[in-house]
Symmetry: C2
Subunit: 368 residues, 2 copies
């Protein structure tokens, strides 16, 4: 069902999107501020995929760059719409709607800014069902819609169009080169597609999911109920059905470097009891979690580090020594676990040697 | 006067273009081979700027990258025309002619390949009057024609369009990033302009100049006359009127590194007599020559290292220990010595502290 989104929804949406960001995707705080400013009293139509005409033309919009840079380099706010307009001009066709390519983190907000500026609706779907660091890691690409041509806009009005045909990895490689030279953050429009293609290739209703998650966590806190129960109840029966508490402890080590346009590193979390250590490796997003050396969750399943009491999600760039945290493992939608999907964004895409194993097969169920 | 260029002209043109390349611009050998293959028995029309209609539409074409990579990464040959077609498509306007952006080195050849493939004429002019390492170092830009939009084509059919408005340095910065990610060499179309703009901003008749230089050197060798006299006689009375022999000696040291997409370094040449050393610094092209620490020639004047007997020009990537060489200083055209020109490609553009001083004010005149 399509619905109207208002500025008052943005804090909840941001919270849920940060959880789905699985440590990456950029802190949506800045995006939320920009969206609130542009939105004002107006409403945005969030279009259910079922309500999208097959022949409608959808141009997704996003920010790309290292989250460590995103928090320091505030966009002017006009770049995402400039990227959309540049791609429209290049293709000679106007968009009927925009859409996220990534529902986790700041990229849940960027299409809202475009929608508020242009009056276009936003499709309630995305191509990652979470956040991933690279542009070819999209269900769109996995199921046959390619990212090219891609338009990039910079804060000084720079406009770049990249066309690598069917080669989405080469598209990512070239777009990343431009993004680095634009200072580490840029705004893009890519994966232009029809309504029929959205229905076939996108992860559906992920904006709604982020908003539901964020809202249920807030309400639980206000009503002094467990926000962890609220997360489990919200996800039960959805495409993210399985939630596991993987570890409880204190952050005792964080290594983080911004390299090749990404934030890469690892975090160690130490338990209070048996002294067994828990380790997470990340590239923008959390990729793999090991407990005492044993893998307990691995990409594309979601590994989410959250505050041990409030369940407020913590991004990889927000990890600090001494934080008391819980780590949640959440099962990714089934369309993201197929062999062709795992080839695009499974463990081997990140240079990990481990095979994918569903999080619901390991660890202990979230209490109660 | 317009004229017809044939494959048999290419060896002479390549030799002259290497001399005008002032150490850089890439060895035209590979470009010459590609041009010969495409040209076959046909002729290319080389259009004198005077014969170009004011309203004609000209799209220059070129290769960009580090010369050290150019000699190792052979292009497929179709990329320069793909770059031209990409820019035509982007602008919605067909070119009436192509033109070099740089008459020195391989970029004297690239527009010939395009001309042979498309049947377009090549304008007898360029924007450097020699070779320079960066795309904003153009008389076009100095006199008000900007490089954007620029199209890049890669060997796997990648196509990129970059538009930075009037900011030609940002255009260079972004295009260089793409070129590095395409493996160090790419082909471009940029500085699209009208015939009237060509007449106002281009260095005229530089293809003719390269061909005359190469031909006169060859004839002198065949007739056992001095090729150095031939160079001086060919240039006398032209916009490159002043030729100075700056040093004779043996290459005793070469430092060279490929960094940030450029070949940077220095060469030391030692004399046989008083032991005074001669040093050249280069960034793709030779930038400054010092004799005993005193500057004797500086960019944008031409510093050319040639074989001490045959006068065959030696590129910066061709410099080797033990070579016996002469170093020539050649005055650059006056339109390249104006204050606005020196701002774009004078010594300070290359981080040199020295001011520009005309080569004809220093050193000893070339014998006789």
């Amino acid at each position: 069902m399509s619905w109207q989104l208002r500025a008052s929804d943005l804090p909840d949406l941001a919270r849920g999107a940060t959880l789905l960001g699985t440590g990456g995707g950029g802190d949506p705080y800045i995006g939320r501020m920009l969206a609130e400013r542009v939105l004002g009293d107006r409403a945005i139509t969030v279009l259910d995929p079922d309500d999208l005409a097959d022949e409608a033309f959808v141009i997704p919009t996003a920010q790309m760059g290292a989250p460590t840079v995103m928090v320091e380099k505030i966009p002017a706010g006009t770049e995402p719409t400039l990227a959309l307009r540049t791609l429209e001009e290049h293709l000679g066709r106007k968009a009927d709607a925009t859409m996220p390519i990534e529902c986790g983190g700041i990229n849940s907000m960027i299409p809202l800014i475009v929608a508020a500026e242009t009056g276009l609706p936003v499709v309630d779907a995305d191509g990652m069902g979470r956040a991933f660091p690279e542009l070819y890691m999209e269900t769109f690409a996995v199921y046959g819609v390619h990212g090219s041509p891609l338009a990039i806009a910079g804060e000084r009005g720079e406009r770049v169009v990249i066309d690598t045909g069917d080669d989405d990895r080469q598209m990512e490689w070239l777009a990343r080169g431009i993004t680095i030279r634009l200072g580490g953050v840029a705004h893009i429009a890519e994966y232009a597609m029809t309504g029929a293609e959205v229905k076939r290739t996108a992860v559906p209703r992920t904006l709604s999911m982020a908003l539901s998650l964020g809202r249920s966590m807030r309400l639980a806190r206000e009503e002094h109920r467990s926000p962890f129960d609220a997360i489990a109840l919200t996800l039960a029966g959805t495409q993210y059905a399985h939630v596991r508490e993987l570890f409880v402890g204190k952050v005792t080590d964080v290594e983080r470097r911004t390299t090749d346009g990404f934030a890469k590193g690892r975090a160690v979390i130490s338990g209070t009891g048996d002294g067994e250590d828990f380790e997470i490796e990340f590239q923008n997003e959390n990729l793999i979690a090991r407990r005492g050396g044993e893998v307990v969750a691995i990409v594309p399943d979601l590994v989410c580090v959250v505050d041990h009491e409030s369940a407020e999600p913590i991004t990889t760039e927000g990890l600090r020594y001494g934080q008391r945290v819980r780590v949640l493992g959440i099962s990714t939608p089934e369309m993201m676990r197929t062999p062709e999907a795992l080839e695009a964004f499974g463990p081997s895409s990140f240079g990990l040697k481990e095979d994918f194993a569903p999080v619901e097969g390991a660890a202990v169920a979230l209490r109660p």
